[in-house]
Amino acid sequence: MRVEKGINRPQPISITVNGVSQQVYPGETLATVLFSAGLQCFNQNRFEQRRAPLCNMGTCFECLVSVKRSDNDRPQRLRACMTDVEEGMVVEAGEGFSITPPLGDRS
């Protein structure tokens, strides 16, 4: 669904989304990448409801996804619409991703 006509994007970089490597353009947000990949649902909230972007301006918090800036980074839950892609990012999103934070793995 990327618009092609009249648009010049920089050289693509790659990130990993749900284990699959994706070619994306610097400047794109994760919301753009996920929508372009055809994702309908970005996460499940704590009521186990599927959720996806509502505002695309950082105010609704419906677009949370799990992001690691590098492979051995701790995953952070970030707003997909406010997070710019970076080479090597590892993203988990979709109905399998619950926004409820995992707990108890630190001591």
Partner: protein, 479 residues
Amino acid sequence: MNYDVVIVGAGPAGIAAANILVEQSLSVLLIDEQARAGGQIFRQPPKGWTVKNWLSSKIYRDGINELRKAEANSLIRWRFRTTVAGISRVAGAEPAFRVFAEDANGVCEIESRFLLLATGCHDMSVSFPGATLPGVMMAGGIQAFVKSQQIVPGECFVLVGTHPLQIIVADQILKAGGKVAGVYFGQPLSRFLRAFKAPATLFRFSGKFLFFLGCICRVLLAGVGIHFGRTVRRALGKEALEQVELMRLDSQGQPTASATQAVAADRLGLCFSFIASSELARQLGATVRWSAPEGGFLVEHDQWMQSSVPGLFVAGEITAVAGADAAMEEGRLAAFGIIRKKMGAQQCTEFTTQIDAVTRRLQKHEQFSTLLRALSDPEDIPKTLLKDEAIVCKCEQVSVGDIHSMLTDNQFVSTASSLKLLTRAGMGLCQGRYCQHILVRLIAEQRNIPEQQVGPYTAQFPSKPLAVAKILEWSPESQ
């Protein structure tokens, strides 16, 4: 880190103010959560991209010029992808503020003598059954995907609402190669025809009206129906939006008995109205006033755009949703207000002509925004849509029915803050941005008191959820 002025929000209001402030040698830092300057109307394509004919209409020219001027000015300091989480006042005689901000790397505190909040607005949400299905979006959000990110975020779009912006959004989707199944205005066509009763305004703003007419023509020529007196009743779909069920409304905005109609779509864009983002100002204790058609709780200010908190200035949609042109003029006025406060009124006589011109243009734009509000005010439609099972607070899953029964059972509750405490509505991740408006109206109606008396939710720190780890890593001394 210490500035004369920190401006929160690099939209039309913020950049117009910055351009004037740095000319008078004030040090200015502009902070914005977005990746680039421009605000909502000018959500730019990412740096390093080229987009042919981006917002090429004449109506955007002044704003884009202002934007380019600010971007080219090396005296302005910028921080993008930075969220202001809270602001506190520094004890002492001078007005001075401590701005607590977060970016990808952590949190920091920035001191500033004056503060300008130009935080804009966000789309108003409405509650109806199915409103929380994936695929239901804000029209402004859809638009930002198209105009900034250059994608069409869906296969087939339906737009519902009362604001003319939805025609512009439909036009932008079509231009980008997307499919629009229909545009539905809740109000009758006669509301729009009222515009012709203000021919002088139409004439003065003929550029805007012609642009709008152009959009209408292109949308109609693309075979997309523009309907009036119809709005969404339910959003339907198993896992995501599949169908939008529409109903007819009479001229009072009440549902009629006639049959509903279902339109297949995977995206529904809501375009009712806008809500001012006044939470940071309220955190600081600035006085607000309620006005539903102007954007809910708006920050009050004097003629120099100073709020009730000394040294805290406001400009743009946060003071009343009035569009980008008015926002720029308010930004300029606020800049003169700050300069005047810093240098003393006597030192500012040289600006008198400029200030007069700004005030004149502001009055002119007010004519336009008054007319626009008259045409696009959703009035009671958001309340009409409410069914008991509709969710008011999407984050905490509080339904309209829950609110009604809580109000019935707890007669002593009559403010938004106390209802929030009782029901958890507004306690979720979005901090109440998407339920406050409707909740305030529900309380006002049920208690038969003015919305002003119901009041907003108390605005708490942080303005947006903030990672505990980042707070721990912060070292206040080293700032």
